[in-house]
Amino acid sequence: MINLEIPKKFKPLATQANQVATEVFRPISRKYDEAEHAYPKELDMLASLIDGMNEGSDMGGAGAAGVRRSANGSDPAENRNGSNLSTVLGVIELCWGDVGLLLSMPRQGLGNSAIASVATDEQLERYGGKWAAMAITEPEAGSDSAAIRTTAELDGDEYVLNGEKIFVTSGDRADLIVVWATLDRSKGRAAIKSFIVERDNPGLKLDRLEHKLGIRASDTANFTLQDCRVPKEALLGDPEVKEKGFAGVMETFDNTRPLVAAMAVGVTRAALEETRRRLASAGVEIDYDTPALSQPAAAARFLEMEADYEAAWLLTLQAAWMADNSKPNSLQASMAKAKAGRTCVDVTLGCVELCGAVGLGESELLEKWARDAKILDIFEGTQQIQLLIVARQLLGKNSSELR
């Protein structure tokens, strides 16, 4: 039966996450926006708390509980609301608090997501409980992740990694870096694998930390890998070079894109709620019964933004729900990411405009949200990459036909 409300059983989780966002994130939000590269030590205690939450149930916590599709014998006709949905709901609430701080949460990195999603049981045991960042992008390969140049050569029982990685979220603070590298550059995407590199590996050299437009609480590191040796067992997933292997790596994104969409949804809601309050104090109330065009222009604009927010929110929940129900969701995950990413940018900027100097000033968080928003339409696949994925699926095209 169609019901697009937050499931009853996840309401306590959402409330809890909202409390964390309100009590922990919001009070230090501006502090770490200003103190870029300072480690938000307040998060350590919180991270332990969230580990406990993840341990306790199938309720996903802050985002990196992993998105393994269980192949258990549950009735496929039965509607499931599981960890994908609960994780998305948690991420929305936490990012309503502060998206930069969520990205800085120990042990909640995208690397953790990748490990949780594709690691073998031994790898899970070996790397469990550690904080893992994800290193894909290179100076010459951004969206085109099949073009990466970092190489991995098998030498006895070890792989030797060489190359350069940029834009590694939490790269300085994490315990592990999941590095994408190619086993054979002549074999294209099929040869691309991910490797778990310990942060203290002597072959992994931190070049610098970036100064950014937004999410300044989160560190963004650039590395050089120079004869960086990792054990053979550090290769995540299947070591065979075959086309499907890369598809497997890319499938990780089907699972993480709804999470990034959820981040965008959370930031968008924060801006809308604040703006609604500001407009009310300026004498503009949003009236849902009266046609938008019969209301003040600010109210009509707000309604428009809220409508985009709602679409983004629903698309995000749908993508997660499909994962919970083992339905292929690559199309819906990219739709959610595309819609949520652009909506977040449009709405946060629109809110700054509506609130004028109050929106622009650093005494409020509106301007910060508008700066934080932009990355959400870029990482985990830019707007344009999402549109490509959606188009290929809708039109039945492969990546050589529609480039």
Binding site: I2, L4, P291, A307
Partner: protein, 431 residues
């Protein structure tokens, strides 16, 4: 008008005009003389008599949600959806072009829609209908399915159900007993939920149609726009600003004195043969006010209508998507399918993304209505998305076909006109 329609028809059919080469001039003169529209009488209409009243009005039961997020319809809804889709594909779409050209939905299509049971959805089971817990969602799914065939035909077919649904939701026991049995048989009367008025920035909470008390009666004056099959309607629910009450709905039978119909052709929804209802001192009894005339009921009615139009927009938006995909894949330019170009492909992506968002927002609003929780916000949002994104989809549909989209060989220009219309309509349909 000094010239009657019969006379005009004779004139149009005669060779005289052609023989003396004055047809163009006469036609232009006629156009000038009739811009205000011909007025004809409303339909004669049947006699609605109260069957045995239930004593207290039958009402729609709440849907019993398990409290889980779910995008799939339940079995009954899926059945209606499937039937609606099959009917739309087999009957509605093939008839759409002619219906648009002729401004008429074939009677056999209306009869088949009745067979589908669309009018019974809003009638409580106690009165022979099938109104169930999930009725709003079911109606939205049917609206979407039929509008995938054609929005104008969907409007023509579903308009009477709006009246049945409104009476089923808010009517008194007496009104239910009087009017609802007619909607459960084969011969469902044409009927209209008449709210929209012909003026810019129309606000359905500030009506220019007035209902004044006169003794025990109400006397209505005003005009209602874009009514489906207006000249055939036997029953109207007319929104009027009632003296001492505020905006409310009145049950007005077509044979009431003081009613007339003007033809009102519009940019879209042409198969619904839209017309304008003029009320000039139309007198109805005190009991004609729907239910208790509560403002909350009226506002709920507005919001349910917005969900209904949103559902039609979703169906037509999906029709655009389904049509442009094979077109841009087949159409070649510069030596390859135009869909190999990002400018084209990304437009298709956006149609997919925004139509999915519209659909989910519409479903959410409808499901909330079924659950008996407030849905004003969700209805307003569904409407905003459908008015704005729906129109963009209509425009992109034509754009992707270029000049071919602009000509009537392809349906995209019709969808362009219909998607504009859906964002303007108030009332007229209900979920």
């Amino acid at each position: 008008m000094g010239i009657g329609l019969r006379g005009l028809n004779w004139l149009a059919g005669s060779d005289l005009l052609d023989r003396i080469r004055i047809r163009k001039g006469v036609e232009r003169a006629l156009f000038q003389g009739t811009k205000g529209g011909f007025r004809t009488a409303t339909a004669a209409g049947r006699t609605f008599e109260a069957a045995q009243s239930l004593g207290k009005p039958a009402r729609q039961p709440r849907s019993k949600s398990k409290g889980l997020f779910d995008v799939t319809p339940d079995d009954e809804q899926a059945m209606f959806q499937e039937a609606g889709r099959a009917f739309a594909a087999d009957q509605v779409r093939p008839a759409a072009k002619a219906a648009d050209d002729e401004r008429k939905t074939p009677p056999e299509i209306l009869a088949q829609a009745t067979e589908l049971g669309v009018a019974m959805l809003g009638v409580p089971a106690e009165l022979g209908g099938v109104m169930e817990g999930g009725a709003a969602t079911t109606a939205a799914l049917i609206g979407e399915a039929l509008a995938h065939g054609d929005m104008g035909i969907a409007y023509a077919a579903l308009a009477p159900s709006a009246v049945a649904t409104a009476i089923g939701l808010w009517g008194s026991a007496e009104q239910e007993a009087t009017y609802l049995p007619a909607f459960t048989g084969e011969d469902v009367p044409a009927a209209a939920l008449a709210i929209l008025e012909p003026r810019p920035l129309f606000d359905p909470l500030k009506l220019e149609t007035k209902a004044k008390r006169d003794g025990a009666d109400w006397v209505l004056d005003g005009a209602k726009s874009l009514i489906a099959r207006a000249s055939e309607c036997e029953l109207f629910l007319v929104a009027a600003d009632a003296e001492g009450v505020g905006p409310a709905l009145f049950v007005v039978e077509s044979k009431a004195k003081g009613l007339s119909i003007e033809d009102e052709p519009a940019m879209g929804l042409r198969p619904a043969a839209t017309g304008r209802l003029i009320l000039e001192g139309a007198r109805v009894p005190a009991t004609a006010i729907l239910g208790e005339g509560k403002r909350a009921d009226y506002v709920e009615c507005l919001n349910r209508a917005r969900i209904a139009w949103a559902s039609l927009s979703v169906g037509t938006a999906q029709a655009v998507l389904d049509y442009v995909i094979p077109y841009v894949n087949d159409r070649k330019a510069f030596g390859e399918p135009i869909s190999n170009r990002q400018g084209v492909a990304f437009t298709v992506s956006d149609i997919g993304i925004e139509s999915s968002g519209m659909r989910l927002a519409t479903y959410r609003a409808a499901a909330r209505a079924d659950q008996g929780v407030d849905f004003a916000r969700e209805a307003a949002i569904a409407r905003r998305l459908c008015a704005q994104k729906g129109m963009k989809i209509g425009s992109d549909g034509v754009q992707l076909l270029g000049g071919h989209g602009f000509v009537k060989e392809h349906p995209v220009e019709r969808w362009y006109r219909d998607l504009r219309s859906a964002g303007v309509m108030e009332g007229a349909l209900l979920v």
